[in-house]
Symmetry: C2
Subunit: 274 residues, 2 copies
């Protein structure tokens, strides 16, 4: 099922001197394919170009990306497309070379088969011990330095647990390992501020925009564990799954929340599940 | 000049699904070759095995590493050997697979030609704007998540500047971009504590052990910019260059310090320069 293009060539390997490997010097996007198309492509492309600017990476022309994505996606119903961009092959040492040619990698992966219940009744989550460092220079972007997530995800192997909620080194709630997180409290939807840590996910951005446009109260602010424990509802989201309600977090149970179900059903028009 | 072995095979590429690329999920060592041998191999191997344990990576047998290093190093006078170990090829997602086979990469690079003056009269350094995040889970080890160093190194392109000194997000001096840092103050040698950030370099460890064994006063503690500014001398070190005195830091000039020159000359017996 997997197919891979490297700088437009059908190829499954990259150089051992690619800075993506040497230093994690690059970015990625993970995107859902629905009926051969990427319903959130405009949002992914927007974040991707902004992230390239943050890392001073030269962004490939949009038309090139779109042609290569079509090559991988147009003949499949559901799939996952992963886009990576690295600063390319470089010599030893951290200094970047002005003439380096970025490496653009596009991979198609099978659509993951997941039970209906993750959307319908919700998922079980825990709090992770592993904290996220506070690094404003890298906060928000989906770069290739992801050891914190690797260490956090290794904290559980119980298949009944779908996610781990992460705090930063100051104890603020930031995100889940592979999803952003929101709470509903007194009719207000709230999600953590990501100025210092975390990935500003495309689905998080979509949800924030949708709530603002539809006149609903939404807040981006600092959250602590206590806010999750006292919330009316908690949900996680990403650009593959849309919205999963959280039905249990570290032993605390949440009833299904009407506002979360409405949001989930709205997103399901764009990303049908499962 | 460059040669590369991947899991023992002469090969210059790795899979685009290698977790070293996907997440920077791995480690590296950069080692000097002198007359076909690695004079600091025991120190590198010690840090490497401890770092593998920190990341729960399965460390290749020492004999395998030594045989492969000999294959690359034995016929050269001076060179650089880079060892990387990743968690191997994995599926999409942060979860590690128990049966994953780590990818072991050994590369030989040409010995960098550098002027005598870096050792004799010292180097010019600046303070970097880019801060290091505080992350105790990753502090000390030489992992593949190195975007902070990439961003810091991109702050200057003046070839007269050899290094940038980095502070953490709380303002503590931690290291230089590619070297550890020491100061000499009132006859005492001091280097920053690396519990929260930074790479605990092999040469730093060697110097600390040497000073302790020879009965000299040495301290590992928190340092701030002011400590560097008021120091009698400053030097940087790594496992390729040994010791470089700093003769200028952000406009402040340091006279050559006797203790630093003695240390430098001692190290030069192991790593002759240039």
């Amino acid at each position: 099922m997997q197919r891979c293009l490297v700088n437009g060539q059908v190829q499954g390997d990259i150089s051992c001197s690619d800075r993506g490997l040497l230093y994690g010097d690059g970015l990625f996007e993970t995107m859902a394919v629905v009926n051969g198309k990427l319903p959130l492509w405009a949002w992914h492309h927007d974040r991707f170009t902004r992230s390239c600017a943050r890392l001073k990476l030269s962004c490939p022309p949009r038309a090139v990306l779109e042609a290569e994505i079509a090559q991988l996606a147009s003949d499949v119903d559901r799939a996952v497309i992963k886009l990576m961009l690295t600063r390319g092959v470089g010599g030893r040492g951290y200094a970047t070379q002005a003439d380096a040619i970025p490496t653009r990698i596009l991979q198609r992966h099978a659509w993951p088969a997941l039970p209906d219940s993750f959307w319908q009744t919700g998922i079980k989550a825990i709090f992770c011990e592993q904290r996220l460092a506070r690094q404003p220079a890298l906060a928000g972007i989906k770069h290739l330095n992801r050891l914190e997530q690797v260490l956090a995800r290794a904290e559980w192997d119980d298949p009944a647990i779908q996610e781990g909620v992460m705090t930063d080194t100051d104890g603020h709630i930031i995100e889940a390992v592979s999803h952003n997180i929101f709470i509903v409290a007194g009719g207000t939807v709230i999600t953590p501020d990501l100025q210092f840590s975390g990935v500003a996910g495309v689905m998080r951005q979509y949800i924030l925009s949708y709530l603002e446009e539809s006149g609903q109260t939404v807040k981006v602010t600092a959250l602590r564990k206590q806010d999750l424990i006292t919330a009316d509802g908690v949900f996680v989201c990403n650009s593959l799954h849309g919205i999963w309600p959280v039905c249990e977090l570290d032993g605390k149970h949440y009833p299904l929340n009407g506002l979360i179900c409405e949001l989930r059903d709205h997103i399901a028009h764009i990303l049908p599940y499962p």
